[in-house]
């Protein structure tokens, strides 16, 4: 069953420029993907591609000046976008939770770790009192924090980066959600710690049959911790499919460029990348948004490409995907 179903999502921001004219930035331009129970989906792309914005929209956290002119977001079959705030609050932090990037700024510095975990349960009415404390300790143990009863008493500033990230994972899991969104969950952590944190997350996702969306710019994380991947460029998903398929037969020139920019491929194939800047979101070009950077672009690319199927659940938004893959 699909837990999260995002369909043709558009998000724009209206801003007044220095010349006092209103301008509109088209940040998301038709994002579609699904996350099912028991699967980890990776959302990759470069800075400004709209990854975190997609996560915020899915959590129902977008506020003015962000606008959603078009699109649908369904969580467990219900449309998040026309849900009243009170109802959203019953889902957010309970059924659908989020792990953010900077653990030390996301924990309340004035509350002990245990108290924060207890509060998460009390707010959502899942447990209170001794039961909540017991559960908090068990969850700390589940995210493999050594000596959990002592850590319950710890202040956030006493935790290392890896420990703090584990506490955030515990916060996200304590109310038994069905789905977790992790926005760059290990960026800034050392490699050995990153591997441990991701292992913990993956094991819990599979043990509890959760759906998970991992947002990252790190292809290594996608390659080893996700089953499916969606590649974003300029607010669009340009390719999606099973991880092994997409890495083995990328159909979109942007996906190909991303993979070719990894040090391992450079060592094999030499310097092949033509970098470039993403399109101006205030003034989006017609047709394929990757056109200006694409070595394969032709006049046909002035027409926006449809998603071309490249196999079971694998597709790329490029007119030439079939021959490129």
């Amino acid at each position: 069953m699909s837990l999260l179903d995002v369909e043709d999502l558009h998000v724009e921001f209206a801003a007044r420029g220095l010349d006092n004219r209103m301008r509109v930035a088209q940040a998301l331009n038709g994002v579609s993907f699904t996350v099912r129970a028991g699967e980890v989906v990776g959302l990759v792309g470069e800075t400004g591609a709209g990854k975190s914005l997609t996560a915020l929209a899915a959590m129902g956290l977008l506020r003015s000046p962000a606008r959603i002119p078009q699109g649908r977001i369904r969580f467990e079959g219900r449309n998040i976008l026309d849900m009243p705030e009170r109802e959203l609050q019953r889902i957010r932090g309970r059924r659908l939770t989020m792990i953010v990037q900077s653990p030390l700024t996301s924990l309340d510095p004035l509350k002990r770790v245990g108290d924060q975990l207890v509060r998460m349960q009390r707010v959502h009415g899942t447990a209170s009192g001794a039961a909540a404390r017991e559960r908090a300790e068990a969850t700390l143990a589940a995210v493999r924090i050594p000596d959990p009863s002592r850590r319950m008493q710890a202040w956030p500033h006493e935790l290392s980066g890896g420990m703090a990230q584990r506490v955030l994972i515990a916060m996200a899991l304590i109310n038994d959600p069905v789905m977790v969104i992790a926005d760059e969950p290990t960026t800034g952590l050392d490699v050995t710690v990153q591997a441990q944190v991701l292992d913990t997350l993956r094991d819990l996702v599979s043990a509890r049959d959760l759906g998970a969306l991992i947002i990252t710019h790190d292809l290594g994380v996608v390659a080893h911790y996700c089953q499916r991947v969606a590649v974003m460029f300029a607010g669009r998903i340009v390719e999606d499919g099973p991880v092994r398929e997409v890495f083995a037969r990328p159909g979109h020139p942007y996906t190909q460029a991303l993979i070719a920019s990894t040090p391992g491929r450079i060592a094999q194939l030499g310097w092949t990348i033509t970098g470039g800047t993403p399109p101006d979101l205030y003034n989006l070009p017609q047709g394929c948004l990757y056109r200006d950077r694409c070595p394969r672009a032709t006049p046909a690319c002035l027409i926006a490409p449809p998603r071309v199927s490249l196999g079971e659940a694998h597709g790329a938004a490029c007119h030439y995907a079939q021959e490129l893959a």
Binding site: D190, A223, R244, L258, P263, G264, I273
Partner: protein, 330 residues
């Protein structure tokens, strides 16, 4: 063989920490870098990588040890005595936003190092700035802009252009691509590679990113808590890591390729505090193959093969290799 461009000998650095404590950031580190060579310096947070970069460029004065630049002992030189050397001894930092004055145009930022170190007319200086911009592939229009108008990748090109302005012999690069996107990163690495081929500049490439270090370095030094765990030619160190810490570190790397299986060595225990370091090998408390002798005295670097050394007593009888880790399921 000609003298190394940079020679760091038994370098030690201490910071004073909170409450009268002493942070032992760098503990007896020695290495050389030859002309045309890139030495990769890898390690996790707190391993002393960045401190070594600052010491090598004498932006910090070491607590102990010697630093020779082009054969000249610069360990105790005063800032004034260092200034003429700085033209040839450059550093590029991770954060280009923080390292370029927001109030100067790119053109002036590029002219600044020339003003300091070269006697040029203003016309010649402007021409040289244009040449530098062109060399790092910045559009000519960028010269009139301010840093906030450029992307991170373009700003890092400005930092590199400033570093090469006076034909340096050594550039220390402290995480130069860590804040950049993948395709932008590749462009910067390619630029550095070209510059080295053209000018023979030596580079000290500091990074926590194992994949990038493997790509750009000729030799690699692995640091753990301010001490060298292992040093060797890049291909050998990555293919056959000898120090147990290097084996653990490399096994945690996530190559961006799903067809490469992961086999991770698990280690437990906390990293010792640099305020209170253990007497022997710093990794002994977490090492799967530690012996009682590991905790008594600091291990000497032992030869693994030519040019490849590991500071592990178990190298002596070849028992330093960890049991193969199980492949982790996806």
């Amino acid at each position: 063989m000609s003298a190394p461009v940079l020679s760091v000998q038994r370098l030690v650095h201490r910071f004073s920490g909170a409450g009268g404590t002493t942070v032992k950031a760098v503990n007896d580190v020695s290495f050389d870098i030859a002309a045309g060579e890139t030495l990769g310096l890898v390690g996790e947070s707190g391993s002393g990588k960045s401190t070594i970069g600052l010491l090598a460029t004498r932006l910090l004065r070491p607590t102990g040890g010697r630093i020779l630049f082009e054969g000249v002992d610069i360990t105790q030189l005063s800032p004034a005595a260092l200034r003429p050397l700085r033209a040839r001894l450059q550093i590029v930092f991770q954060d280009p936003w923080g390292s370029l004055s927001p109030r100067m145009t790119i053109g002036r930022l590029l002219e600044e190092p020339l003003t300091l170190h070269a006697k040029l007319t203003s016309v010649a200086r402007a021409a040289e700035a244009r040449r530098l911009a062109d060399r790092v592939r910045l559009p000519a229009a960028a010269l009139a802009r301010y840093p906030h108008e450029l992307s991170g990748g373009q700003l890092q090109r400005v930092s590199i252009a400033r570093a090469i302005a006076n034909r340096p012999k050594l550039i220390v690069l402290d995480e130069p691509t860590s804040s950049l996107d993948l395709s932008v990163r590749a462009g910067i690495l390619q630029l550095l590679d070209e510059l080295q081929r053209e000018t023979g500049v030596a580079m000290l490439f500091i990074s926590h990113d194992l994949e990038t270090v493997r790509l750009v370095s000729h030799r690699v030094v692995v640091l753990y808590l301010g001490r060298i765990a292992e040093e060797g030619p890049t291909p050998r160190l990555f293919e056959a890591p000898a120090h147990p810490y290097t084996q653990v570190l490399l096994s945690a790397n996530l190559p961006p390729d799903p067809s490469v299986p992961l086999a991770r060595h698990e280690v437990f225990g906390e990293i010792p505090s640099p305020v209170n370091l253990p007497p022997g090998c710093f990794f002994a408390g977490r090492c799967p193959v530690a012996l009682p002798a590991c905790s008594t005295a600091p291990p000497e670097p032992l030869r693994v093969e030519d040019g490849h050394f590991a500071a592990c007593i178990r190298v002596a009888d070849g028992t330093n290799i960890l049991a193969p880790a199980e492949e982790t399921a996806r």
